[in-house]
Each structure stands twice: as structure tokens, then as C-alpha cells.
Subunit: 216 residues, 3 copies
Amino acid sequence: MKIDRFLQLFVVKEKKFYPLYIEQAANIEAAAKLLVELLQEQDPEKQKALYKDIKEYEHSGDMITAKLYEELNKTFVTPFDREDINLLSGRMDTFLDFIHDAAKRMLMYRPKSVNQLLIAMGQCIVEDARILKDIMNGLEYIQKKPQEINEKCVRIKQIEHDVDDLYEQFMSDVFANEKDAIELVKLKNIGQVLEDATDRAKDVGDIVRGIIIKFA
Amino acid sequence: MKIDRFLQLFVVKEKKFYPLYIEQAANIEAAAKLLVELLQEQDPEKQKALYKDIKEYEHSGDMITAKLYEELNKTFVTPFDREDINLLSGRMDTFLDFIHDAAKRMLMYRPKSVNQLLIAMGQCIVEDARILKDIMNGLEYIQKKPQEINEKCVRIKQIEHDVDDLYEQFMSDVFANEKDAIELVKLKNIGQVLEDATDRAKDVGDIVRGIIIKFA
Amino acid sequence: MKIDRFLQLFVVKEKKFYPLYIEQAANIEAAAKLLVELLQEQDPEKQKALYKDIKEYEHSGDMITAKLYEELNKTFVTPFDREDINLLSGRMDTFLDFIHDAAKRMLMYRPKSVNQLLIAMGQCIVEDARILKDIMNGLEYIQKKPQEINEKCVRIKQIEHDVDDLYEQFMSDVFANEKDAIELVKLKNIGQVLEDATDRAKDVGDIVRGIIIKFA
């Protein structure tokens, strides 16, 4: 009976990680939604307010990442490889950083106009965030339904390809039509970071797929 | 005798990975060669046709990467660390993505002229691809001839340095002579992705060197 | 007694890594200091001389990285995971490469003026290098004082955030005030690589934190 309790201690401990990943995913989704609003916002004051909120989500994200690291340092038995727990939280944080970076560029550059294709790219980031939330909700059961989670990761890969195409179309447009070199540089760099953000979402998916492989 | 057969099953299984890596390397080499043609092509229609072919190689690359991932999920005994098998295919895919990205930029930007130094950088990417093909052909014997394979990885590192120098020269030229800011941005970004591609080839080499280290 | 000697052989062997990391950190710090000088230098001849010296440090860095790799191949018992030894030297080398790259861009682009904020970013890189030197000096005792080393890694994370803010301010300035598109592109790209360099310093810290976690 004492041993049972002892084992339970471990079980309780290792379960600490899941809610933190779920919290982080919710954080990312909230920031991604505000980014799409920001891409469509013209009013400088409202832009500033949206950016401030995104910055707060990014800060919360840092806190969650730090907490995951601390928990990891206190926990002997982890639900999957220690390194993967660390990598997963690191990559999620990086995805959030890129969302924040995209918002920051909107404020730094203040482009004269925002193309519809950029907004579509932002919406893909929101979809990535939604799928990541689903994945994190299922993480606890990854051994029981690896196929289901793998499919979600494949979907994120697909989104990354779609965004590549959007970005290609956007850049062709900009280089064909924008005659003001400074505006062109602004748009190019905002498009670039949106495209990069979806690569970072794929990085998170790759870590999850790596975890699935180890359980195979 | 039954046990022999059982063991053979494993041996057969683990051998599935090598041909896929070799196939991927051939794929990369084909795309790299077309990229050099594209860099030298002036005719828009021919450029489009070359890009279309490169895009198909990139798509085949995704298929091979997916197949490697599936094989990994079905295989219990792998010739080297499961994670390294996964990393190696991921990095090869990324190298191919960068070749595709360089081609895409040519189509998106349509620069007025292409410098000889850019073509030289493209040729270095072809050399990287050739060396990677050699490495993948030798991968099965990596424990028997680690030194030989390591030397090939070192050669890829050297190419990366050479391309750094080419890029440096190219950029100095462009910033000194190109007075049209939009053309300058185009050339800078095409040069950048060619240079980045050789970094990605080095990343593949680094994974191989990591595998050698584990066998040491 | 024979066994003692045998064990001592291992102890001696594994200790070979620490001085190489310390040497690399000193190398990085020297290059970082010259970079700050270069950012403040107007005279083209002196700029060239400073760049030449930075290039030499970068070359020494490659030598040290190669030596670490060789040692690793000869050593059976390592103070921490073989992969981490390899990753740590790789990431330190990458940080140094980015310092070198920043210097190279100064020479390639020759911007008409260098903003005070860029110099402040350079000074943050020097601080990163100093902290890394401290970390490498303590690496041998990482199991005895993980908290102390972890705090240094957290400090590097903090610097990365500070540099993000500096970069944000710098870019807002440049996009608001620089009317020459080519000068704008130059300054943007120099600022970018300085900001990226502090990300690479954080990457080194992340590897160290990963090592701490494995000992926890």
C-alpha cells in the first residue's frame, strides 16, 4: 500500500506537464487571433492596443515556458523524454515569438496598405494554433491514439505548404506592382515573418511526431 | 532456424531506409541541377517550365520523407538511432526546400539580370548534392568507413565557407553598383537563399557526423 | 591499483573538453569586442583591419570546433552526453559565425552612418560573450552548482529580450526617418544580424539548460 502511494506520487507529478502545454496553446491561439485583427486594423491607437495585448500573451508564454522548465527540474519520472518536454515547450514558445514578431513588424513598419493575402496568411496561423490546442489536449493520450495526433501534425504540414503558395502569390504581386522600394521592403518583411511563423508551427508538430516515433 | 528467420526479418526491415535516403539524394541533385539552369535562363516560359519541374522534385521529396517516417513507425530495429533517422530525412527535406525556395524567388522577383557569382553559388549547391549522394550511398557502411564519410562532410563544410566568400563578394558588388533599390532587394534575397541552402547542406552533414560519433 | 589507473585514464580524458570550451568562449568574447569597435569605426582601412582580425577569430573557432569533434571521437567516457558535447560546440561556433557575419555586413554594405542603438546591440553581444565565458568556466562543476549556471542562462535570455526592444526601437527609427531605400536596407540587415546573434547566444544557453535538466 505504501508502494502504491509512492507510485501515485509519480503519476501525479508527471501529469503537471499537460495543463501547462494546454495553457500555452490557448495563449498562442489568443495571440494569433489578435494578430489577424491587427493586420486588418487601420487606426494607429487601436493597433497599439492590440500589439500591447499580444505582447502580454508573449510574456505569459515566457512564464509558462519557465514553469515547464522548473517542473522538469523537480520531476524524476516524466511522461515522455525529458529532452522532448523541454524541446516541445521551447518550440511552442518560438511559435508564439514569431506571432509576436509579426505584430511588432506591423507597428515598426506601419505599411500604407495591407494586402488580403497577408490576412489570409494570418488566418492560417490561427488555424495552426487551433490544431496545436487540439494536439495538446490529446497529448496525455498520445500512446493510445498516435494516428489521430499524427494526422493533426500532417495537417499543420499541409498548412505550411498552403502558406508557401500564398506567400509566393503575395510576393509576385508586390514585386510586380509596388513601385515604392521602402513600402516593398515593409511588405516583404511582414509576409516573410508570417510565412516563417507557419514553419515554426510545423516545428512543434515535428517534435510531437518525434515523440510518437519513440513510442512506436 | 526459426530464430534465424526471425532475425533476418529485422535485417531486411532495417535495410529499407538506405534506398529511401539514396532516392532522396538523387532527387535533390536533380533539383539542384535544374536550379542552375534556371539561374541562367532568360526566357520566362522556359523559366516557368524549369520551376515546375523543381516543384515536382520538391513534392517527391515530401513523399519520400513521409515514407521514411512511416517506415520508422513500423520498424523496431533501426540501423541507427530512431531520432537520427528522422532528423536526417528532415534535414535533407529542408535542403531540398531551400533549393525549391531559390527557384521560387527567381520566378517571384524576376530580376533584370543574374550575376555570374549567383550562378557559381548555384554550382556549389550542385556539388553539395553530389557529395550527399555519395554519403547516402555509403551510409550502409558508415561503421566500416567512418573516416571516409566524415571527410565528405568536412568537404560540405568547406563548400559552405566558399559560398560565404562568393556571397560576400556578390553583396559588395550589388551594394556598390546597383542603384535601383528594388533590383537590389531582389538580388540580395536570391543570393541570401542560395547561401542559406549551403548551410542546410551542412546541417545534413552535421547529422551524419553526429551518427558517426555515436558509433565511435 | 591497476583499475585505479584505468579509471584515471578516463577522468583525464573527459577533462579535455572543458579547456576547449573555455578557449572557444574567450575567442567569441574577443571577436565580439572587435565587432563593437568596428560598429564605431569610420575609417575604411581600420574597418578592414578589424574585420580581418574578426575573421581570424572565426577561423580559430572552426579549429576548436573541429578539435572538439575529434576529441569526442577518441573518447569513450564523456562528462555529459556525447550529443550535447557536439551540440554545445556547434552552437558556440554558430554564435561566433553570426558575430563574424555582422562584421562582414558592415564591410559589404558600408552604411553611411551607424545608429547608437546598433552599437548598444553590439554591447549586448559582448555581455552575452562574457556570460558564456563564465558558464564555460563553471561547466566542470555543473552538477554541483546547477542553479548558479542556470541563472546565467536566464540572464542571456533576458539580454535577448532587451535586444529585441532595442531592435524594435531601431527599426521604427529607420523606417520613420531613412528616406534612402538602399541605406534603409543596409541598416535593417545589420540590425537583423545583431538581433539574430543574441538569439544564437540564447541557443547556447538552451543547450546548457538541457544538460542541467539531464542531471536533475
